[in-house]
């Protein structure tokens, strides 16, 4: 949907300092009430119930796959088979790490707290997101989803720069930027933007984690020099780049080309149906509308939550292919017309309670 002439949108609008955040605040879009379907408390309690078994099973299987593919990659060294073997290893190392980082960050994957915390730290390293910084960034993403100048996790920022988006999709943006920021944090500094959303009492934790990461990377790079080989970095570090495509493939449809500055997750999130293998790799984050409405519901209960609220939501996309059939032409359109966005139709009898329109 577009109202005609291209509207102005600058990348600088997305900055937390000097961006469009103050305008969003004046419009009542910051920390606002979002639309939520009515779900009986008894049903929500059942959906929110925690358990360890599913996440233990899935985590054991995931690391078994990483170890297995890592063994294949190691055995294939010196042959052309190393290319597909490392591609598989990196994909399994970094791809599912995104959803594990996400679910354990919410603290919902396991019932046992230390299991969430442990996997959060490890998965953060694998996907290369600084744990404390991204925990707070993600809290903001949930408070002000796709609110320009408030949400740091807007992947397809306007105006669309195709090469920039492709570079991000294949992992060439996040990990290098995070590596540089890790070094800054390890030197005892946080970026000024980060200080706006991370409470001061958490700064020390962010710095300590950055120093631990720096030590791990220094050891890995040192080992490369010692062995005169890139192989250690192919197993630790570089997979965060060359394996990133999978989580971007899953993650881009979450919000791409949907309107900014609306207060209804049915309008600015997509739920995409996926097969069992994809849902294992993505830990059901394809149920993204539902996750944003009720972040306390664990990944293993999201299919049931979807059933509970689906009559109140626009139809889910039948597959990733169906979602990308909409997204790719929409991105091309946004390249020329930054005012364009995909408008989702809400169920007729249940209009959004708090939607405020695109507001741009």
């Amino acid at each position: 949907m577009s109202d005609g002439a291209p509207r102005q949108r600058r990348r600088s609008d997305y900055r937390l300092i000097g961006g469009a955040g103050e305008q969003a605040r004046r419009l009542g879009l910051v920390g606002a009430d979002w639309y939520k379907p009515a779900v009986p408390r008894s049903v929500m309690k059942e959906l929110m119930r925690r358990q360890d078994a599913a996440a233990i099973r899935d985590t054991a299987l995931w690391y078994a796959l990483i170890l297995g593919s890592g063994a294949l990659a190691y055995l294939s060294l010196g042959t052309l088979w190393a290319l597909p073997a490392f591609f598989l290893y990196g994909t399994l190392y970094a791809g599912p790490a995104d959803s594990r980082w996400h679910e354990t960050g919410h603290g919902t994957a396991f019932k046992t707290r230390w299991m969430n915390d442990l996997l959060y730290q490890v998965a953060s390293f694998q996907v290369m997101r600084r744990p404390t910084v991204w925990r707070w960034s993600h809290a903001r993403h949930h408070t002000d989803t796709l609110v320009t100048g408030r949400d740091l996790e807007v992947q397809a920022q306007l105006p669309i720069h195709p090469l920039d988006l492709i570079a991000d999709f294949v992992g060439l943006k996040l990990a290098p930027r995070e590596f540089a920021m890790m070094l800054l944090n390890a030197a005892g500094h946080l970026a000024e933007e980060e200080k706006t959303f991370i409470p001061e009492q958490e700064w020390g934790k962010a710095i300590a984690q950055a120093r631990a990461w720096t030590a791990i990377y220094a050891l890995t790079i040192g080992l490369c020099f010692y062995l005169s080989s890139w192989v250690p970095l192919l197993f630790i570090g570089l997979p965060s780049i060359y394996g990133a495509w999978l989580y971007n493939f899953f993650g881009l449809p979450q919000h791409a080309c949907l309107p900014e500055n609306v207060l209804d997750h049915r309008l600015n999130c997509r739920t995409v149906m996926m097969n069992r293998a994809f849902r294992f790799l993505y830990w059901n984050m394809n149920y993204h509308v539902e996750h944003h409405m009720f972040p306390l519901v664990p990944y293993h209960a999201l299919p049931r939550l979807y059933e509970a609220v689906k009559d109140d939501c626009p139809p889910a996309y039948a597959s990733s292919w169906a979602a990308y059939r909409e997204i790719i032409p929409a991105l091309a359109r946004q390249w020329r017309d930054p005012g364009y966005y995909v408008k989702r139709e809400l169920p007729a009898q249940r209009p959004a309670m708090a939607s405020m329109g695109p507001g741009r």
Partner: protein, 103 residues
């Protein structure tokens, strides 16, 4: 206003659950865990979400918005993103009715 306030029948709160109680322009959260009742401020100290929509596990309430966690017995924030403790209030059961003391 200071004094013991009548919140409502205990039977209206399931065990290991929470309900909202509004009084004098303020919102409180009333919990029932293992036969005891507890009362805290009703809004999360992180970003003011209503805790009555959250999850009670043992003596911990988890905020529905960002999963900030608090011990409902003393209001302690148990980890990010909850960093500021929650205010607690004395609560008691009398003849099946829940009361809380507001200062």
């Amino acid at each position: 206003m200071t004094g013991w306030l009548r919140v409502g029948p205990l039977a209206e709160i399931e065990d290991e659950d929470v309900r909202r109680f509004d009084h004098d322009g303020r919102s409180y959260a009333i919990y029932r865990v293992a036969g005891n009742v507890y009362a805290t401020d009703g809004l999360c100290t992180h970003e003011q979400a209503h805790l009555c929509d959250g999850l009670v596990m043992d003596h911990v309430i988890e905020c529905p918005m960002h999963n900030g966690r608090f011990d409902i017995r003393d209001g302690r924030a148990l980890g990010a993103p909850a960093c500021v403790n929650l205010k607690t209030y004395p609560a008691r059961i009398e003849n099946g009715i829940v009361f809380m003391l507001v200062e």
